[in-house]
């Protein structure tokens, strides 16, 4: 083995490594290039994520969901203040966890005075997951199931079939925990994946891999309540995704990476062989002379 051959092999390996690194580096941003309204649901083995500050949340991918004032007939409906909410979702141990995070500089948790309104957030699902209801509180024949959390401690499970029809379940199946720190609310909703009793009016979270979902946030300090709220468009929770993105993407990029490395290596070896062939004869010639 000559020095030339060793050098060429090392070069090929370095080039191959660089190519592999760059493909891996390229693959990560591509996870975020998922469809705009898709929110991945991460599968986790038995993890309790009902605490908004649970460690497990740090490795769950977050989607940035844009909010805008809901169309509504209530006064000042256009005057809302929250523009985005970060959404994370996890299925674990038969539980469905949804974590919302948004910036709100005012911490409004009391409605004990006529002018006080509380911060609040809601997650909306179709009751019947096979079709997408009207975004504004669903429709008469196409109702929505809403998880409503309010800053004064109340969590309600609601059923609605159009604006103004919101009705609370007598016993909610959803729980919510919230923290407020550094001007940011973090709320985690927890519900059994199975809809259980009263299932006729409750969304079966396990019935589909693409579960329609929408979000709303109220800033109580801005007088936001009822239809005066910042809302998202319909999004969908995609089950079967992990932090690395959909499996087929990883697979494709791994295959592509290996192929590129292979091609580079074969090319390098080819060049090397051609060169060392000439150099070798020269050497032998030199050796003969």
């Amino acid at each position: 083995m000559t020095d030339d051959r060793t050098r060429a092999l090392a070069t090929a390996l370095v080039v191959g490594a660089l190519v592999l690194c760059s493909t891996v580096a390229l693959a990560s941003p591509l996870v975020d290039a998922r469809p705009a309204h898709e929110i991945p649901v991460t599968e986790r083995p038995d993890a309790d994520l009902s605490d908004p500050t649970a460690d497990g949340w740090s490795s769950v991918p977050a989607s940035d969901v844009a909010l805008a004032s809901a169309p509504s007939g209530v006064p000042n409906a256009d005057d809302t203040s929250i523009e985005r909410v970060h959404v994370q979702a996890v299925r674990s141990g038969g539980q469905f966890y949804v974590r919302l995070q948004w910036a709100d500089p005012t911490h409004n948790v009391s409605a004990e005075s006529p002018r006080q309104f509380v911060d609040a957030a809601a997650v909306q699902f179709p009751v019947d997951t096979s079709s997408r209801p009207p975004i504004a509180m669903g429709g008469r024949d196409n109702r929505v199931n809403v998880w409503y959390w309010a800053g004064n401690g109340g969590t309600q499970e609601l059923l609605a079939g159009g604006a103004g029809s919101t009705t609370a379940f007598p016993s909610p199946s959803v729980a919510a925990n919230a923290t407020y720190a550094d001007g940011t609310w973090t709320v985690v909703y927890t519900r059994d994946i199975e809809s259980g009793s009263e299932s006729a009016n409750r969304t079966d979270l396990g019935s589909t891999d693409t579960l329609d979902v929408a979000f709303a946030v109220w800033n109580g300090g801005n007088g936001e309540r009822a239809g005066r709220k910042a809302v998202s468009e319909w999004h969908y929770f995609l089950t079967g995704t992990g932090p690395q993105g959909p499996p087929y993407q990883t697979l494709l990029w791994t295959v592509a990476g290996v192929a590129i490395v292979g091609v580079v290596a074969v090319t390098a070896f080819g060049v090397l062989r051609a060169r060392s062939g000439g150099g070798g004869s020269g050497g032998s010639e030199g050796g003969a002379s």
């Binding site: 006064p75 409605a111 004990e112 005075s113 006529p114 002018r115 103004g164 919101t166």
Partner: protein
Amino acid sequence: MSTNEDTNINVAEGIDHQVAMVMDLNKCIGCQTCTIACKSLWTEGGGTEYMYWNNVETKPGEGYPRGWEESGGGWQGEQGEAHTDRQPGDIPSREDYGRPWEFNHSEIMYEGSDEPLRPRDGAEWGPNWDEDQGAGEYPNSYYFYLPRICNHCTHPSCVEACPRQALYKREEDGIVLVDQERCRGYRYCVEGCPYKKVYYNTVSKKSEKCIFCYPRLEGEGPDGQAYAPACAEECPPQLRLVGFLDDEDGPIYKLVEEYEVALPLHPEFRTQPNVYYIPPYAPGQHTEDGESVDVDRIPREYLRELFGDGVDEALNTIERERQRARQGSDSELMELLQHKNPAKQYRLGVFNDDD
């Protein structure tokens, strides 16, 4: 839907009959018995402490809640136009309603202090803070009392303001109620009422209001008898008439529709109140020497602000009828205004046989 096609009474769409009340402001002595009768019946519970479904305020004055006349609500447009666009309104602050005061009871009762009994610091406003203050200069200062309840309006902007239809007008008598099951405490009704007669319960987190004592009207009490609202029955000078606007044989119809001497408060809010007022009729002004002069003590312009342009004709009619009575002639109007017979003053069961 309305069953009184045979009358000219403009009751609300879908309403069979309309309860109404006439208050004669010339009889109000500002004793607040109505206020306490109401409060002890309906608003003693947690979260209702600051509410006075019935209040009596001094006019001219800020009223309760403070500045309610400038707080918005009601309908845009001119009289006679359709009720399509609501006027934006504000929710009064806790201070505008008035906070309960702390008194120095313990110092005086237990610590031997000889200070006068008085509120501790922080008493800067409350219902009737400006009681009897009024306006004008001696010897021509003036004021009068204005008792107020929910007007159970024919075009209630509170009902329209609610995005959940939690407020509604009862079909049988037009009483405006808040369905406590439907209310979610949004308070659009509070800001939407130009009279600020819907209140937010700070404990139940729902809105509440005067219910025109409907359980009393329905005879839900222990003796099964129908009674007028407590504010009316308990009034020492008995200044309130209670009945139905569309009861053409009743005094309210005559005072409102025939003689036109009972007027709604702030008709420009366009909610068409069903509580009516006989405007105050004050003696004329005095000179420094105590001579009476023919100048209105209560500026007529101020009364027009409160009761609309109809106040001139109303006061003229009262004056004319008063002269007739003085001269020994019969005056049905003066009789009506002096009812001492509860059977005529409170006509509650006139439509009971309708169904």
